[in-house]
Symmetry: C2
Subunit: 143 residues, 2 copies
């Protein structure tokens, strides 16, 4: 047994990476909300604590889900982006959003939820193509 | 704001229910492995601690994802089953398994992963129909 995993079950492996209440919210902010900085993640409505945010960003980076770079327009600023492996989390997020939207009152626009359910492949293709346009040429090569 | 949720985001709501390293492993055991008793969940290879298992089962039951009943063949035994709401987690599990199977070495049979990716709707339909056959007549009505 690989000592770094509790089992070889792929579900267990996935939960070891992002099985907590916060990691996927950061992925959501990057994927759907255009948030890219520590400060923007911190301002998300769920009120993530600074130390939890720092820890989760570090873990997501260690697992190759997010990558950091200097903001080209302001070298003092660090901005985060989803890697291709992070983008591959989109189908999971979509299914979780569809499930969560059934749980009583949410702020999810019903038309978006309907598209996620009924036009899933096209919805995922759009996420991917939107993501591709945010990649810098040299980063596209790196993936 | 509903004080019981940190936000109305459906993803956040979902993570409040099962955003941890263990809950979805119990759902996996019920959905794919035919495990139905506390003892069987405890024997899963990940080595869940007794108190964590008891806590997660209670939470899953409180959220209407699992239900308990007496074993019809042995009234001293409690057995768990997935409710329809629990069954609705299948698409999330499938996507997480597909993602996790890309993460290096896992024990997932490649043929099953391929079916999950390429024949997803049919695969999900089979999970649902297998689940339906395990429901007792009076429980089918209750859903």
């Amino acid at each position: 047994m690989d000592p770094k995993h509790r089992s070889y079950c792929p579900l267990s492996v996935a939960l070891e990476v992002f099985g907590d209440r916060w990691s996927l919210l950061i992925v959501r902010d990057l994927m759907f909300k255009g948030r890219t900085t520590f400060k923007e993640f911190q301002e998300a409505e769920e009120g993530i604590a600074t130390n939890v945010l720092a820890d989760r960003l570090q873990r997501l980076e260690a697992h190759g889900i997010v990558a950091r770079r200097r903001d080209p327009s302001d070298a003092r600023k660090v901005i985060y982006r989803l890697t291709e492996k992070g983008l591959d989390l989109a189908p999971i997020l979509v299914e979780m959003i569809v499930w969560g939207a059934r749980e009583g009152r949410t702020n999810a626009p019903p038309a978006v939820i309907r598209r996620m359910r009924e036009d899933r492949d096209q919805f995922l293709a759009e996420i991917r193509s939107r993501w591709a346009t945010t990649q810098l040429p040299d980063e596209a090569r790196e993936e």
